[in-house]
Amino acid sequence: MSKPINYTDKCSRISNAFYNAGLEKAQIRDLTGACRCLKRSLEFDKYNTSARNLLGLIYYETGETAEALVQWVISSNLQQEHNRATHYIYEVQGEPGRLEDESVHIRRYNQALIQAQNDNPDLAILQLGRVVDHKPNYVKAHMLLALLYIGQENYTKAGKSLYKVLQIDKNNPKALWYMSIVKSNTGRADVEKRRLKNAFSHHQMQDDDIILPPSYRENTGWQMVLHIAAGLAMGAAVIFFLVMPAREEQLNDSHNQEMAQVLEQVNQKSMEIDGIEASMAVMESERDTAEADLKAIMDENGGVLSQYQQLAHILQAYRADDFPTAVELYTELNPELIEDEGMQMIITEIRQDMEERGYQVLADLAGQARDAGNTDQALMYYQKSLDIKEDNPQVIYDMAMVYHDREEEDKANELFGQVIMNYPDTDLAEKAKEIRGY
């Protein structure tokens, strides 16, 4: 029974050796080689958890998430404790939506593969472009994309995809082969070949050999013109992009400062103008008040000064013994405007005289005017007589008669009515009734 144990032990040792080789290759990013070694390791010992976990990691690194999960799930089933695979599964499945996204991109790659194999490379390239945008480590997608670009003789784009593949998996044999084809078609292979030849060639220096510095270039005429033009263009660009904005900013700053000063001056002037306008308004108001006062004093009819003048004329008429003129002037006097106490006493005396005999003078003047046919003047005198003495039925009656003669019956009837109502037992009342037709 010792033989089976030896075989198992030997298998385990071989498995470990392959695992170590795979690990070394993985460390230098030879993922294809590492994958091959690790698969071989597992063929010898399926319980080699490290090999299986590393294989899963390599699948994950190359974008094969489902394959990685397969290895990690098997690993965690074969060794349930102290297994790094559990952590990997948790990392992939733990983030919400991450696994769904992976699934979408893998499915999209599969669709692109079907489209490519069914002569629809354009659509496949479109799909694969979206896949590698979201999943830039998806080696299979890059490889298929590179192949499709090579098929369309778009070697530059193919080279870019292959470059990304070789960054992930340095010794991917198919990628290296595709890259060699791309390089041969773009001329890159010749350049690299020449560079290698230069780097490793050995040449015996002769006495007359000249070592030119790498920066030295012999310029031809047109190259010099080109260089001068480029220099001028660069100078213009420097002026345009560096000097001009600074100068423009400086000018703007000074302009803004000037504007601010001018605006400040304008504000000050505006404030001064506002002050002057306000004082002007006050002065105009005072002037209007003064003019109104002056007008009130100078007013011919009701002004204070004119009342004093009127009073002087009345006194002068008295002095001339012209009582009718004094009466006429008195009717135009407004005694309330005269506030002087001495004058008020004179006015009181004049008023008493007017109430005693002045009203009759006015009534006589009215009668003379009526007889002369001047009814307007007659009515004016009657009214003045009534202003001095209201209780005078004769004057009211005579005034009503003037209106009656002028056929202004409404006014006449009103005055007749006053006589009838206020002086019922007088002859005048009887006459008024007769005229009214009572």
Binding site: T8, C11, G63, A66, L99, S103, I106, L147
Partner: protein, 51 residues
């Protein structure tokens, strides 16, 4: 030079996430130790039969 059609035919679809369970179930986990043990068992059984 690349034979485009032939190269294209070598590309295989990726395993999708939904297929992980089936892939695990279908995995052949037989390793060299299992094969050796079977061979030894079969050898000993045939020996017994011969005896």
């Amino acid at each position: 030079m690349i034979n485009f059609e032939e190269e294209l035919s070598h590309f295989k679809p990726s395993l999708e996430v939904e297929e992980v369970e089936d892939a695990i179930m279908d995995s052949d986990l037989t390793d060299m130790a299992d094969i050796m043990m079977n061979l030894i068992r079969e050898g000993s059984e045939s020996k017994k039969k011969d005896e």
